[in-house]
């Protein structure tokens, strides 16, 4: 087995706001191996983005703070690095693509400027060289007419094109890890297909690890090797993609999969997870999902479960499986 490229252990990221502490990331652990794709799914506000931002050390502070945990990248704890060292990692070792391509590029600079400065921030190359490299990268991600396009401003690009530019920029220093935070959510389906295709192609060519954040199980099924499911700041289930779809364990995961309409000939009534996601400032005692859970037990309202191994490479945070844990232990 390959050694993990990135390993996150018991990450806790909290926001200390006037109206209370938001536990945006609340005990999340996972690991990513080189060349593999990890998907993180979960509903809005479940802490997906903040997990990613924690890795890059970009939690807005104040009010945010990484309270505890370890983030080991190539064996070194990123949380112990200085701001200057982190700057050397961001954009070079780990780069990121954001959800909204319309707003992720600086509107007042040309694409050229934004590409070139990224390269020159990390490598001692001339402007000319950086420019040449930018042209190559843009070409690689499928921007037509690169020479002309590179002189343009972001607003002159469509959403899909901008996302390509973002990806090109993220790839400019050959990162070993690419974090994509809902890179296709803002795009139309046909464009989304293009971008997902591009991701696959890039991964094949450049052999980097990808963390793909999404709320769309379809995307997960399509591109991810492994999946982490998050709910209300907590990691609730992690396993291989196929395993999750075949044999998902957590009631939330199950509910999620049943509530999306599928294109099948027989239309049934949709299964529904009743209720609303909790307010992260006022989390219920015990299991956070308990108020919406079909299988809720009395214990669930009192006890917060830990991540439990249910099988090789499959962990779940649910009291239903605690027995299994004991069994495995024995």
């Amino acid at each position: 087995m390959k050694a993990a490229l990135l390993e996150v252990r018991h990450l806790h990221t909290h926001f200390f706001t006037k109206s209370g502490t938001v536990k945006a990331v609340d005990d999340v652990s996972f690991s990513v191996k080189p060349g593999e794709t990890l998907g993180i799914v979960g509903e809005s506000g479940s802490g997906k983005s903040m997990t990613a931002m924690s890795i890059l050390g970009l939690i807005p502070s104040p009010p945010g703070k990484i309270v505890s945990g370890e983030i080991l990248f190539k064996g070194e704890d990123l949380l112990k690095k200085s701001e200057k060292e982190m700057r050397q990692i961001r954009g070079k070792e780990i780069s990121m693509v954001f959800q909204d391509p319309m707003t992720s590029l600086n509107p007042v600079f040309t694409i050229e400027k934004q590409m070139v400065e990224t390269i020159r921030a990390h490598e001692k190359v001339s402007k000319k060289q950086a420019f040449e490299r930018s042209l190559d990268l843009l070409h690689l991600v499928g921007i037509p007419d690169v020479k002309k396009r590179i002189k343009m401003y972001p607003h002159e690009f469509s959403g899909g094109m901008r996302q390509r530019v973002m990806i090109a920029m993220a790839l400019s220093c050959n990162p070993s890890l690419l974090i994509a935070d809902e890179p296709t959510t803002a795009l139309d389906v046909t464009i989304q297909a293009q971008i997902l295709e591009l991701f696959k192609k890039m991964q094949d060519e450049l052999n980097m690890a990808i963390i793909m954040i999404t709320h769309d199980l379809g995307v997960v099924a399509e591109v991810c090797d492994e999946v982490l499911v998050m709910y209300a700041g907590k990691a609730v289930e992690m396993t291989y993609t196929k395993q999750l779809f075949d044999n998902g364990k957590h009631p939330y995961t199950l509910g999620l999969m049943q509530s999306i309409p599928k294109i099948t000939p027989n239309k049934e009534k949709l299964e529904v997870i009743e209720g609303l996601p909790p307010d992260l400032r006022r989390l219920p005692k015990g299991c956070h999902f308990a108020p919406r859970c079909k299988y809720v037990m009395e214990r669930c309202l009192i006890e917060g479960p830990d991540m439990t191994k249910v099988s090789e490479h499959h962990t779940v945070r649910c009291l239903l499986y605690e027995k299994t844990k004991k069994a495995v232990k024995q």
């Binding site: 961001r90 954009g91 780069s95 990121m96 954001f98 600086n106 509107p107 921030a121």
Partner: protein
């Protein structure tokens, strides 16, 4: 771009016509007899009538307005009733003083305001932030005529370190080239004069700069805060750029746009404030000129000067619009 400028210029025409109508009608509603102002207390009724005829004051308003406009288009701003001097000439004499003071104040306001705003935003809730924002709040709440007087009292009366009035000490020699004394003294390398001029411009400059400075600082701060929240700033961080570059290049260039508009509008405050400031500091500029003309009901001056000031203001705003376009590639001009 040129097309845009031309279009914007064309759009100014109705505004300028409106401005001219307002100035014209305002001044014609002012009670009082200009002929009497001109001839003084000892003139006879017949002399007055003669003069009225001469000035065309007996014509219909429409005829007078037509004459007013056609004269202005020919660069003839009329003649002062009191001094009998061509107003265009007198304005040309006083405009440099006002422009120099306004620009000095504006540059002061922009430099200090933007810097304070940026630092406050970057170090939100720090002592600097609190201090400069309190200062800015005081700045927008201060009556500048009072501030001017208090500064005179403090610096001229109590400490006697800065002069209370004028542009330059009488007797200091200065070759004038541009009529902007600061520039002229630098051009001729006349350090004594430069120091003297600087001392003179300091107090009125500060008084005039106070409000724009405060507003620019507040605007810059909130605009910076807004921009710093934007996705592309997060992108810049994620790219591993230096904080300094992110703040002063990526953020400031975006944050400056709304500030630019405010700067344009603040020229209005400045030109209006010049009336008060120039009066207090005996600054021989247009503000004092127009105020004295209002008091003396030298209405050709009031009419022409207000028109010119409004036109200048309108053009400054046009200029900021164009600059805006220069800074913001997104703007489509329609």
């Amino acid at each position: 771009m040129l097309k845009y400028i031309l279009r914007r210029l064309a759009m100014l025409i109705p505004v300028l016509i409106g401005v001219s109508i307002i100035t014209f009608s305002l001044i014609h509603l002012i009670p009082g007899d200009p002929a009497r102002s001109m001839l003084g207390e000892k003139a006879s009724e017949a002399q007055l009538e003669l003069l009225r005829e001469e000035l065309g004051l007996n014509d219909s308003y429409l005829v007078q307005y037509g004459r007013f406009i056609s004269n202005i288009l020919r660069g003839d701003l009329g003649t002062s009733i009191q001094s009998k001097e061509s107003i265009a000439y007198e304005l040309a004499q006083k405009l440099p003083a006002t422009i120099e003071l306004s620009l000095f104040a504006m540059i002061l306001a922009i430099v200090v305001g933007v810097l304070a705003g940026v630092i406050s935003a970057v170090k939100q809730y720090s002592w600097f932030d609190h201090l400069s924002m309190t200062g800015a709040l005081f700045g927008v709440s201060l009556p500048i005529f009072w501030l001017g007087l208090m500064m005179i009292w403090l610096f001229s009366v109590q400490f006697n370190i800065l002069p209370p009035s004028g542009r330059m000490t009488t007797g200091v020699h200065l070759e004038t080239i541009t009529n902007f004394y600061l520039i002229d003294s630098l051009l001729t390398g006349n350090w004594e004069a430069f120091k003297d001029v600087l001392q003179h411009i300091l107090l009125p400059g500060i008084a005039l700069a106070t409000i724009p400075m405060a507003i620019i600082a507040r605007m810059t701060r909130s605009s910076m805060l807004e921009v710093m929240r934007q996705d592309y700033i997060r992108t810049a961080y994620a790219k591993g750029l230096k904080r300094f570059i992110i703040i002063f290049q990526h953020a400031l260039k975006n944050a400056f746009l709304p500030v630019l508009t405010v700067i344009g509008l603040q020229f209005g405050t400045l030109l209006g404030g010049a009336v008060l400031t120039e009066t207090i500091f005996s600054w021989p500029g247009v503000g004092r000129y127009v105020y004295l003309a209002v008091l003396g009901r030298d209405y050709p001056i009031v009419q022409s000067t207000i028109l010119i000031i409004a036109a200048i203001f309108v053009f400054i705003n046009l200029l900021t619009d164009i600059l805006y376009k220069y800074f913001d590639p997104r703007i489509k001009y329609n």
